[in-house]
C-alpha cells in the first residue's frame, strides 16, 4: 500500500516536472538564457532521480499498475478510460530517456551564447514539453492515450524543427515529416477504433487477454486493425521507404544541433519500439516474419548508404538508425526484459556518439570525414568515449551489441534472412570502423582549434561513458533472463552457441577489415575503390567489354 502511493506520486511527478518546467520557462523568458537553461536541467535531473528511484522500488518489489477511470466520452459499447502503468519496463525507459534529456540539456549550455534569447526559450520549452509527453507515453497502457500523446508529440517535434531553420530545405523536409507522422497517427487511430469496437476495450493488457483467447482469428475487423497498426509501426520506426523522409530531415541540421539529432533518434526509436512488444506479440507469425524481413532490408539500405557517404553526421546517424532496425527485430522476437535493457543502453550509446560527432564537427569546422584525421593524439577522452560507442554498434564483445547481433541471428529462421543478416553485421561493423579510423587515425593532419573539450563536456562525457560501461554492457542481458517475461505469453529467445559464434566472427572481421583498409588511407584510394564498385560503372564496363 505504501509503495503503491509512493509510485503513484512518482509517476505523476515524473510527468509533471518537465511540463511545469516548460510553463515556467515561458513565463520567465525575460530573465535570461542561463535561468532558462538551468530550469530545463533541473527538471530533467528531477525526472531522472525520481525514475531511478522508481526503478529501484519496482525491481525490489512488484509491478505497479494504476487504473484511472477518466470519463472522457461515452459510446454505446464502452467508455474510454485513462490507464497509467508503472512497471519494470516503463520505469527503465523513463530513467533512460530522462538521462538522455539531462545530457542534451547540459550539452546545450555550450551553445547558449550562439543562440538568440527567444530561440533558446522555444528550444528548451519544447524540449521539456517533449520530455513530459514521452514520459506520459511510457506510462500509458491504453491505445487511445498513446495515440493522443503521440499526436501531441508529433506537433512538438515539428515545432522543434522550426525553431532553428538552417535552410529552406530543412523547412521543407520538416513539413514532409510532419505530414508523414500525422498520416501514421491516423493509421493508429483507425486501428485503435477498430480494436476498441470489435473487442470492447483499448487497454493493452485487456487486449492481450482477448488475443490469448483467440478472438482475433475470425475477426476481420480486428485483423484490419492489426494491419493498420503494422503500417503505423513501419512509418514511425522509419523503415523503408519512410527512412528516406526521416533520415533526410535529421541530416539537415548543422553540427551545433547534433544534440537535437541525438534526441530525435533516441526519442523516435524509443516510443515506437515500446509499442512493438504489445503488437508483435499478437501478430500472426507471417506478419512477424514480414516485419523482421522489412527491418533487415531497411538496415541493409542504411548500412550501404552510410558506407557511400562522406558526411560525418550522415554516417553516424545511419549506423544508429540501422542499430534501431536490428533492435526492432530482436524486440519483435524476444519478449524478455533483456531486449528492453539493450534498447535502453542503445539509446545512451546513440546519444553519446552523436554528441561526440557533433562536437568534433563544430571544433574541426567541417562535415566531411576526409577533412578530419589523426586527432587521436589530441583528444584522448573523446577517443575512449567514441571507442565504447563504436564497439557497441559494431557488435563486439563483451558489450551488449554482441548480444544484440546474436539475438538477431536467433530471430531469423530462413537461409535468405541469415545471409542478409550476415551481410548487415559485417558491413555495419565495417562502416562504424571506417568512421572511427578515418577521424582518429586518418592520414590527414587535422587543424583543430581546441585541443581539449571544455571542462563541462569532459565531465559529462566521462560520467556518461562510465555509466554505459557499468550499467551492464558486459553481456548482462543473461542475468536479466530470470526476471521473467514482459507479458507472460511467449518465452524469451534462446540464443545458441552457433549464434554467438557467427556474431563474433562477422563483427570482428568487419572491424578488422575496416581498420586495415582505412588506417592512414588517403581519400583518393576510396574514390577509386568505389568507382569500381559503382553499379553504373560496372554496367558501363561490361557493355564496353561486350562491344
Amino acid at each position: 500500500m505504501y509503495y503503491d502511493s509512493v509510485l503513484m506520486i512518482y509517476t505523476f511527478a515524473i510527468i509533471f516536472f518537465p511540463f511545469m518546467a516548460c510553463l515556467l520557462i515561458m513565463f520567465t523568458m525575460g530573465r535570461g538564457k542561463f535561468v532558462v537553461a538551468t530550469i530545463s536541467v533541473l527538471s530533467s535531473v528531477m525526472s531522472l532521480f525520481l525514475s531511478c528511484t522508481a526503478v529501484y522500488i519496482i525491481f525490489k518489489n512488484s509491478n505497479y499498475s494504476l487504473l484511472i477511470d477518466f470519463p472522457w466520452i461515452t459510446t454505446q459499447n464502452n467508455s474510454l478510460q485513462a490507464v497509467f502503468v508503472m512497471d519494470k519496463v516503463s520505469s527503465l525507459l523513463m530513467a533512460s530517456a530522462s538521462l538522455v534529456f539531462t545530457v542534451v540539456h547540459l550539452y546545450a549550455f555550450r551553445i547558449l551564447n550562439k543562440m538568440e534569447n527567444n530561440v533558446l526559450v522555444k528550444f528548451f520549452a519544447l524540449n521539456c514539453l517533449a520530455h513530459s509527453l514521452l514520459m506520459t507515453i511510457f506510462a500509458s497502457a491504453s491505445l487511445i492515450q498513446i495515440y493522443v500523446f503521440m499526436s501531441l508529440l508529433t506537433v512538438v517535434i515539428f515545432l522543434l524543427r522550426l525553431v532553428e531553420k538552417s535552410s529552406e530545405q530543412s523547412v521543407v523536409s520538416a513539413k514532409i515529416e510532419f505530414i508523414t507522422n500525422i498520416s501514421a497517427d491516423m493509421f493508429l487511430l483507425l486501428g485503435t477504433i477498430l480494436l476498441s469496437n470489435s473487442l470492447g476495450t483499448s487497454v493493452i493488457n485487456q487486449l492481450y487477454a482477448h488475443l490469448s483467447e483467440g478472438k482475433f482469428v475470425n475477426n476481420t475487423q480486428a485483423l484490419v486493425a492489426i494491419f493498420s497498426i503494422f503500417i503505423f509501426l513501419i512509418c514511425k520506426l522509419g523503415f523503408f521507404p519512410f527512412n528516406l523522409i526521416f533520415m533526410k530531415n535529421s541530416e539537415d541540421y548543422p553540427a551545433c544541433f547534433a544534440e537535437k539529432v541525438a534526441l530525435y533518434h533516441t526519442g523516435s526509436a524509443l516510443f515506437v519500439l515500446i509499442l512493438i512488444k504489445p503488437f508483435c506479440s499478437v501478430l500472426p507469425s507471417v506478419s512477424i516474419v514480414a516485419f523482421i524481413f522489412w527491418a533487415l532490408l531497411t538496415a541493409l539500405i542504411l548500412v550501404y548508404r552510410s558506407i557511400v557517404s562522406k558526411n560525418i553526421l550522415h554516417i553516424a546517424g545511419r549506423i544508429c538508425f540501422a542499430n534501431n532496425c536490428l533492435l526492432a527485430v530482436v524486440i519483435a522476437s524476444d519478449l524478455g526484459l533483456s531486449s528492453l535493457f539493450v534498447l535502453s543502453i542503445s539509446m545512451l550509446i546513440i546519444t553519446l556518439l552523436l554528441i561526440i560527432v557533433g562536437y568534433l564537427m563544430s571544433v574541426m569546422h567541417t562535415i566531411f570525414i576526409w577533412e578530419t584525421g589523426n586527432i587521436s593524439k589530441y583528444m584522448k577522452l573523446l577517443l575512449i568515449a567514441c571507442s565504447i560507442s563504436i564497439m557497441f554498434l559494431s557488435g563486439l564483445p563483451p558489450l551488449s551489441g554482441f548480444w544484440r547481433n546474436s539475438a538477431v541471428f536467433a530471430s531469423v529462421g530462413d537461409v535468405f534472412s541469415m545471409i542478409l543478416t550476415s551481410v548487415i553485421m559485417f558491413f555495419m561493423a565495417f562502416s562504424a570502423m571506417r568512421l572511427y579510423t578515418v577521424i582518429f587515425f586518418g592520414k590527414k593532419e587535422s587543424e583543430i582549434q581546441a585541443k581539449n573539450p571544455p571542462a563541462l563536456i569532459s565531465i559529462m562525457l566521462t560520467v556518461f561513458t562510465l555509466a554505459i560501461i557499468i550499467l551492464g554492457n558486459i553481456a548482462f542481458p543473461f542475468l536479466f533472463e530470470s526476471m521473467g517475461d514482459y507479458v507472460n505469453m511467449r518465452t524469451s529467445l534462446s540464443i545458441s552457441a552457433d549464434n554467438f559464434r557467427m556474431a563474433f566472427i562477422l563483427s570482428m572481421s568487419g572491424v578488422i577489415t575496416g581498420f586495415l583498409i582505412y588506417f592512414k588511407m588517403p581519400e583518393k584510394r576510396e574514390d577509386v575503390i568505389f568507382s569500381y564498385l559503382n553499379f553504373k560503372n560496372i554496367f558501363k564496363r561490361l557493355k564496353r567489354s561486350k562491344n
Binding site: 472522457w72 466520452i73 461515452t74 459510446t75 495515440y147 493522443v148 523547412v171 505530414i179 498520416s183
Partner: protein, 472 residues
Amino acid sequence: MSSILLTIMILLPLIGALFIYQNDSKNKLDCSLMNCFFMFCVMIISIYLFLMVDIYSIYDSKHFFEHIYISEYISYSVAVNGLNGIFILATCIIFFCLSLISVKSTGKHQAILSLVSLSGILGVFLSQNIVFLMIFLIISFFPVIYISGKDNLTKIQIIASLFILLAVSVFIQITSKPILFGEDANLLPFVSGININSITQIYLFLPVMLSIFILSASTDWMMKTCAKGSIYGGIVAVTSKVVLYIAFMLLIPIFPEGIKFYHIAVYILLISFMIYKCVDSFRTTQLMRQIVNYSSVHSSLILLLISGPMSSDLLKGIVISCLAAPFVLVVVLGVAGIIKDRELPSEPISGLAMILPRLRIVFSFGFLAMLSLPGTLNFPAQFVMLYASVNLKNIFAAAILLLMPIFTAIYLLNTSVKLFYGKLPMSYYGIKDVGNIETAGFTIIIILLVVLGIYPYYVDEFIVNFAKMVIR
C-alpha cells in the same frame, strides 16, 4: 419573468442594433463599445439559462417555454432544452469574443449587422416551431446577404434557398397534420412526433436537401468577405454552421425514408463537391480561400453523415462537430481578417512571426484544431464520428474522416509556414501586434476549445439525451 426572458433574449440584440442606428456619434469606438455591451448582456442571460435548464429534458416546459398560438399550423413557441441551451451559450460567447476581437475595426454598420445576425441565430436555436425557425433563419441571413456585396449569384442562391426552405417548412406543417394535443401541437418533429408518409418524404427531401446544401455552400463562400473586417468573417462562419443545425434537427426525424431513397445521389454530389474543394485548396496559396474550402468540406461531411446510416453515437459526434466548428473558424478567420487589414497593397505579406507573435500563437491553436488534434474540441467529435462510422460500416465516411486532417495539414501547412516564417519585407517592420482586448477575445475562445477538448464529458451529457430521442 421566465415567460418573457427568452423573447427578451431574442429582442435585446435588435434593440441594441436600433440604439446604435439612432446614435449619431461618429466615433468608431463608441459603436464598438455599445456592441460589446449588448453582446455581454445577451451572454449573461445565456449563462443564466444554461445554468438553470434541465439538461436531461428535451424541453423544459415548466420554466423556459413561451407559446403564443397564432393558427392551427403556426405558433410562436420558444424554449430552452439540453441541446439548444449549449448552442445558445456557445453562440453568445463567440459573438461577445468577436466583438472584443474586432473592437478597433467595428463601425456602425458592422455592429448593427452582428447584432441582427445574433438575434436571428438565437431565434433559430430557441424556436420550437418549424415555420418560425425558418423565419428566424431568414432574419439571421439578412446581414449575410447584405455583406455579399456585389456577388449577385451568391445573393440569389441564398435568397432562393431560404424561401424554398420556408415554403417547404410550411408544407411540412400542413401535410403532417400535427396531432392536436394542446400546446405541443406545433413543436419540432422529434418532440411532437410528426410523421409524414414515405411518398411525401421522398418528394420533399430533395428540395430541402438541395436548398440546405446550396445555402451552406454559398455562406461558406461568403467567408471571403472577412476581408472587410474580422467580425464579418465570424458572423458568416457562425451562420453557415447554423444551417447544419437545421439539417440535423429536421432531416433526421422528418425524412428517414427520403434519406434512404436518395442517399447514393447525395453521396455522389457531396463527395464530388469535397474533392473539388480539396483540389482548389491545393492549387491556391491564399489562406482565406483555404479556410473557406475547409469549412465547405466540413459542412459537406456533416451532410454526408446525415444522409447515411445513423446511430446515436454518430449524431452525438455530428452535434459536437457543429458546436466546435464555429469556435475554430472564428479563430482562424479572425486571424486571417486581421492579417488582411494590415496587408499593404504594394507587396504580399509574409514572415509575420517576427512582428505578430501573439497572432502566430493564436493561429497555431486554430490550425491544430482544424487538424482535429487531441486537446481541442474537434478531436472528440472526429473520434466519436469515426467510431460510429466504423460501427455502422460506413467506409466512405470513415475514409473521409481519416483523410480530412491529412489533406488539411498538407495544403494549410505550406501557406501558413510561408505566411508566418517566410522572409519579412522591410515595409512591414512597423506593424503592431494585436492589443490586449483582441487577445482577450481570442484567449476566451481558445480556452473553451482546449478545456472542452480535454474534458468533453460535460458537453456529452447535454447531447446524449437528444441523440437518443431523435434516433427512436
